[in-house]
Amino acid sequence: MDQILLQSPLLTPTPIWLIALPLLVAFLSPLWGRARWPLLFGVHLGLFALALWLLAGVQDGPLIETLVIAPPLGIHLHADAVSLLLVALLTFAVALVAAFLWQGARAPHWQSRQAFVLIMLLSAGCNGMLLTGDLFNLYVFIEIAGVSAYLLSALRRDAAALEAGLKYLIIGAVSAVFILFATVLTYITTGTLNLAAIGMAFADIPAAMQILIGLLLLVGLGIKAELFPFNVWVPEIYRGSDPEASALFSGVVVKAFLFVLFNLVFLILADPAVVGRWLMILGGVTMVIAELTALRQRDLRRMLAYSSLGQVGLITLALGFAETTVVAGGLFHLVNHTLAKLLLFMVAALMLSRASSGHLDALTGIARRLPLAAGLFVLGSLSMLGLPPLAGFMSKLWIMAGFAEAGVFWPIALILLGALLEAAYFFRWIALFYRPVPAPRLASDPVGLPTASSAVTWPLLVLAVLLIGFGLAPVLLEPALNLAAEVLLDRSGAIEAVMGVRP
């Protein structure tokens, strides 16, 4: 199949466009002028369509697109049912954030060209991380996504944003050192950087070196994928960044890193059961500690950050089980979490533009001024908690039914405990939003920004419709998710597609 694609003209839709197009558009940014935001939205909608189109073509096996020399010597893109599913999700998410910014962001720093370029680069980096079949390429894409994320975090350029950006940069650089170290050791011990070839060779390298490389990758990717105890930086960064940026971090970047982590685990290790078990424990601990800590948060952004950590823990718990049903449920939850978190962070952005701060007191009674936003917040949190009839319920049920089928009950208990803690704080915030407050406190707009047009709500409504739709009809996604889970767990198939031999 790759031969045919190689011979075809440059403009045929191939996976490389998922990375190249955002980069190209970003570098040509001076040309776009005022059309930047529509372009950002349009490009990502296009990429979304492209990813779906490619997804339809990889039902039977992955699509290997060779760059320069054929693998395992050269660099290639490995587009299969799971990576393209995630690309579709992430491009869709970026498209919605773009639409939100286009209609809603009136602050000057979001109007600037930097924001446009950075989001494009972020999206290119994340797509690259999902699609690449080469370890060093992975490092490069991680850095591209990382640098744009640091800058997005600091985009507001006041003390808080810069502090968040600097801290993000420091922690990101630490993570990069660990990943680079692992890459270097892998090359020294196996002599290759191709992921499939590493998968073949990894079992033969010394046991101590395996553990060292594994731990380096765990720390490096764990930092970015927000697993406890490597996620301690997250609340600070989300607190300082604009919610629009946090939506991208939580909805897009983290998801890409989770995929990278689990793709490596399932591809490289001949028997992922032991590591999977440890990752499950890590996920469970991440979830419970984060949900517990979220109880005490007094700032909306910080609360959402902890909630994000909790959900990441849940997804890790599910994916680590390495069993098709549970992994499919975990991927479904990943999709739902992206949708719900985008919704919540965008609602938070709307609220913060009307309130003096993100603090609990400042947001009390906000529902009277922003009834639709408060209603959407309720919807998003219901999905986040896993209450029917919303999508989050279906994915949690899916995961738990998988665990129950396998007769493993401790994750179910942890998930339910986490959901109860989650309910305690989400419902407290909702109760605050709806609390009646004396009129004078609501009288003036403290920030004085021009108010956004009502068109700003349509990306939110799209998300709400999707959350309800997937909640009522999870069958819509079922074939894609099952296939994705099978592909993610099918190590020999992935290696065979690249190397031509079964491991």
Binding site: G146, E163, L169, A173
Partner: protein, 126 residues
């Protein structure tokens, strides 16, 4: 007399020990320094340690740089070209991140008058 030491094993051990020492110095700096620029320097030292390890362990005494010039037409007797290329790429990335960090530090200093991560407090909640 010291020819016995001029073997790949000894070289590699030296490189490994040296780069680990460098890495530890960087890590120590990262954990103990509070000045933003010193933190970035520590990070740069850690990265350098990794590069050194990479370059050092993938070559052997007597090999030349993998550059096809001066009559060389094939990669015989040269070091493995891949690590060298990768290190160059990584260096560029690291430099970019470093420049970004330094410029953000300067900006932060202009705004708040501090360069100490310990006293950063804009993210504290009341």
């Amino acid at each position: 007399m010291l020819d016995a030491l001029d073997t790949p094993g000894v070289h590699h051990a030296l490189y490994a020990v040296g780069s680990m020492a460098l890495f530890s110095i960087g890590l120590y700096g990262l954990l103990t320094r509070r000045h933003l620029l010193k933190i970035f320097m520590s990070l740069a030292i850690m990265e350098m340690a990794v590069y050194l390890l990479f370059i050092g362990l993938t070559t052997q005494p007597g090999r030349t740089a993998p550059i096809l010039s001066d009559g060389l037409v094939e990669f015989a007797g040269t070091a493995d070209p891949v690590p060298q290329a990768l290190t160059l790429t990584a260096l560029v990335i690291a430099l970019a991140v470093l420049a970004l960090g330094v410029s953000m530090s300067i900006r932060y200093h202009q705004l708040t008058g501090t360069t100490d991560v310990e006293t950063m407090s804009a993210l504290k909640d009341p």
